[in-house]
C-alpha cells in the first residue's frame, strides 16, 4: 500500500474529503499532524515487535570503551560477542551501568571477556561492553532498523500490508485524542485495542507460534 492511499483512508474515516492527505479542510488537524501520527505508528510497531531487523558485524579493538552504532539503529534485538582469536561466540544480555557496578565492581577499569552490553547509558547511538574487552573481537549485532519517514508523496509504506491497520489505528487514536471539538476518548481507546491486537499477532508470528 502506498502512503497516499492510507492518508485518503484516514480522511474518509475522519469525514474529510479524500485527496491523498493533501488537505484537511475541517481545520481540526494539519497535514503535518497526520503524518506525525502515521510515522509514530510505524515507529511504535517496528520497535514494539522488532518487525524488521538488520544485522551487522562491528570489529572492536581490545580495551575499547565506546562502540558506535549504525545511524539507523532504533533498538538492540540481540548481541553476540565473538572472540577474534578463538571465534568463540558469547551471547550478551542487556545491562545498565548501575547493574554492572553492583555485579562486577571495577568493570570499566579491569578488562575481561564481555558478559553484557549497555546501549542506553552513554551518548545516543553508542554501546559499551561490560566488562571492557581485554582482547579484540567482533560484535554481531541484530538491531531494529529505523524505517524511512512517510512523507505522503506516494511511496510504499515500509511494512507488510497485513500490518497497515496497526498504523491506521495508531494514527486515528493520536488524532482523536487531540484536545478539540472532535476529542473522542472512547474511539481512541478502541484504536489502542486494535493496535494491540496487531502487536500481539506480530509477536506470536515472530515467536514462531510456540
Amino acid at each position: 500500500m502506498i502512503d497516499t492511499d492510507l492518508l485518503s483512508e484516514l480522511q474518509l474515516t475522519l469525514i474529510e474529503p479524500p485527496d491523498g492527505g493533501a488537505t484537511w479542510p475541517s481545520g481540526i488537524w494539519t497535514r503535518a499532524e497526520v503524518l506525525e501520527g502515521v510515522n509514530g505508528g510505524i515507529h511504535t510497531l517496528v520497535n514494539d515487535v522488532h518487525l524488521t531487523l538488520a544485522r551487522i558485524e562491528i570489529n572492536v579493538a581490545a580495551l575499547t570503551t565506546t562502540i558506535l552504532l549504525p545511524s539507523d539503529w532504533l533498538a538492540t534485538s540481540s548481541l553476540v560477542w565473538r572472540d577474534q582469536a578463538t571465534s568463540v561466540r558469547t551471547p550478551l544480555g542487556p545491562a545498565g551501568s548501575f547493574e554492572s557496578d553492583l555485579a562486577l565492581p571495577g568493570w570499566e577499569a579491569t578488562p575481561g571477556s564481555p558478559l553484557a552490553y549497555a546501549d542506553l547509558d552513554q551518548a545516543s547511538l553508542t554501546i559499551r561492553l561490560c566488562p571492557t574487552p581485554a582482547a579484540p573481537g567482533v560484535v554481531e549485532l541484530i538491531y531494529v532498523q529505523q524505517q524511512p519517514e512517510v512523507t505522503g508523496n506516494g511511496t510504499p509504506l515500509p511494512i507488510a500490508e497485513e500490518f497497515v491497520s496497526a498504523i491506521k489505528y495508531t494514527a486515528l487514536g493520536y488524532l482523536l485524542r487531540k484536545v478539540g471539538r472532535l476529542l473522542d476518548a472512547e474511539r481512541s481507546e478502541y484504536c489502542d485495542r486494535r493496535y494491540e491486537l496487531q502487536r500481539a499477532a506480530a509477536e506470536i508470528i515472530l515467536g514462531g507460534w510456540a
Binding site: R89, E161, E203, I205
Partner: protein, 250 residues
Amino acid sequence: MPFTVTTLAQLKTTMVQRWDQVVFWTPEEARLAINETLREWNLLTGTWRTRVPLSVTGNSPEIALPSLMTYGMRVTTAAGRPLQPTSIPELDYGLPPWRLQTTATGGIVPTIPTLWAPLSLTRIAIWPTYPGNVVNALQVDGVLRTPILVNDGDYLDLAEPPIDIVVDMALHIVAFKEAAARWRSTRPFFDNFLDAAVEKNGHLKQHQVYRRWAGLDRQRDLQPTRNASNQIQGVATQFSSHDTGGGGQG
C-alpha cells in the same frame, strides 16, 4: 467445505442490506473496509498460503523470504524433511557456535539443516547452513499477501461461513466514522470476527500473548511480571485525573 466465489459487488450489496438504516458510507469506503477485514483475517488465521522453494547462500545461515510472502510458517528440506522451529535467542544461548557451523562441520552438527528461526517477518535463519550455494535447497510454507479487491467483479475465495463474518466486520469498520451509539452497536461484530479467527487458528487462543490481549489470562493481570504499576505511575495518574491532592485548603 466447498469454496464459493463472492464478488466485491455482492459483498458491498450485502453490507447495505444488513444495515437497516441510512447508509453513512460510500462504495469506496465499503471496499476499503472489506479489504481491511481480509487483511486482518489473513494476519490472524493465515488463510491464503503458498509454498515456495528457497535457495541457500553458502556459509550464510540467513535467507530472505520472497516478497509475495507475508511470513513463513513451516520449513522443510527439498526432500520434505521438516526443520523444527526455534528462535534466535534459543540458538544464541543454547548453541552459541550455530552461526559459524555448516553441514560439513562434523561432530555433533547434523549433515542437513534441522532448525529454523524467524529473524524478522521477511528473513529466517537455519541451522546448520550449507557450506556452498545450494539452489532450491529448502521449501517454505507461508502466508501469502492478502488478495486486495479493487473492481466490482473481483472475487473472494473464502468458504461460506466467514463471508457473513467478513461483511459484519466491514460494517463495524465503516461505522467507526459515525461513532456514538450506531458504531457501539456494531462492537459485537468485532467480537464475532475474533471468535471466528480463534476458531480457525487454535494457536491464537493457546498463545499467552493473545490470551493477555483478550483478557483471558487473569493470573497475569492480577500478578503482572512486567509493567507492574509503581509509585511513579501513581503520581502520573493523579496528574492525569487533575487530582492535585490539594485538599484542606478550603
